[in-house]
Symmetry: C2
Subunit: 194 residues, 2 copies
DNA sequence: ATAATTGTTGACTAACCGGTCAACTGAGAT
DNA sequence: ATCTCAGTTGACCGGTTAGTCAACAATTAT
């Protein structure tokens, strides 16, 4: 499972072969086909596992006990530190696998992977929506439609992640929190930062 | 050339084989290798050709003779109509090939494709930067740092395009102009729309 | 102990991959 | 007419791919 995540994340879904996965996992192909019917099934389980590993951390960051704008700040911070660690580990910026793999497999006939990816992405967007709604309720931002704002913010994050991967440059993420504030029309950024 | 663009755009760079390209182009593999040394070279020429086809249209949309915020509105509009046409033609939303291919090949050893893609993306970002600077000069928006704002806006567009492809849903783009206004802090959206 | 179940393996196939090459084609130059 | 040469072709090579399978090992149940 670890092998497949690394290969698909660092390389791409399409160009990752079952032979490669088996080699890296130290397992023979016969064993692979004993547990999985195809690469799709494996990727599905891999995605699910990855998500369940991140979920507790996101739940903590977006806990309703934390002031809403601080949630977003912590999220940006967490994301940056996470990417930095990955970068040190693999030698290059990898961004979010849900985005890169999602974009790659979106036109395939078998829709199972897309569905799983969209499902997880939708979970993630909801963290943002709730935080924005709470911020709006507290009068911290101007976001009459939190759902719409969350979609915009989510697209922005998605773009940042993709850009950082393409440019292989972590600095791209440093804009994240400023961009977030501008996007949300934060009324007093200095107060949040303090 | 048309064949390779279609295949790489609809599928992915990695999973598009030279055999497929040759089949679709109605050409034998020997002929392919008479003109190109590898798939990378072909993709390079394809990207360049694609860019030189879009360039005049973008030059028109972002002409300095057009009011700056109208440029952005026209760009969003153009992008939506273009994607809608592609969608009707291929049966699914494909987004921007520079993003999807760029994200896919970013970790490869051969850096030529990445460089070309980053070069073209940087050109596109400059359109935004100029428009934002002009808008700022006209007092239409609050963007003290046009370059930084353009990066944020560009990331947002990139995210929208990726999202639309992943979700296979054109409606994602409909947020584009609103998101743009919010991001730029447009002082009087109603006046722009009118 | 032994039977049953669960997991592992290497050898195999058939299709496909990138890439090469000598032979061929056709159009324009002399 | 025929020479030249850019462009085309199909056959071919070695390596890799996804996927299968009968035989084997390890664990568990009885």
């Amino acid at each position: 499972m670890k092998a497949v995540r690394e290969l698909i994340w660092k390389g791409s879904y399409g160009s990752t072969t079952i032979d490669q996965i088996c080699d890296k996992a130290g397992v023979k192909k016969g064993s692979f086909y004993y547990f999985f019917d195809s690469k799709v099934e494996l990727a599905l389980v891999g995605m699910e596992e990855d998500w369940s590993q991140h979920r507790p951390e996101l739940d903590a960051i977006f806990s309703p006990t934390v002031p809403p704008l601080e949630r977003l700040r912590k999220y940006c911070d967490y994301f940056y530190r996470f990417q930095a660690e990955i970068c040190k580990q693999y030698g290059c910026v990898l961004g979010c696998p849900l985005f890169s793999v999602g974009a790659e497999v979106s036109t395939q006939e078998d829709h199972r992977l897309q569905q799983k990816i969209q499902e997880i992405l939708e979970y993630k967007r909801r963290y943002l929506e709730t935080a924005i709604r709470d911020a709006q309720a507290a009068g911290l931002v101007s976001a009459p439609d939190p759902a719409a704002k969350s979609r915009i913010l989510f697209a922005y994050y998605q773009g940042l992640a993709t850009q950082a991967r393409i440019q292989n440059n972590l600095d791209v993420f440093k804009d994240a929190i400023n961009g977030t504030y501008e996007l949300l029309g934060v009324k007093n950024p200095a107060a949040v930062a303090a």
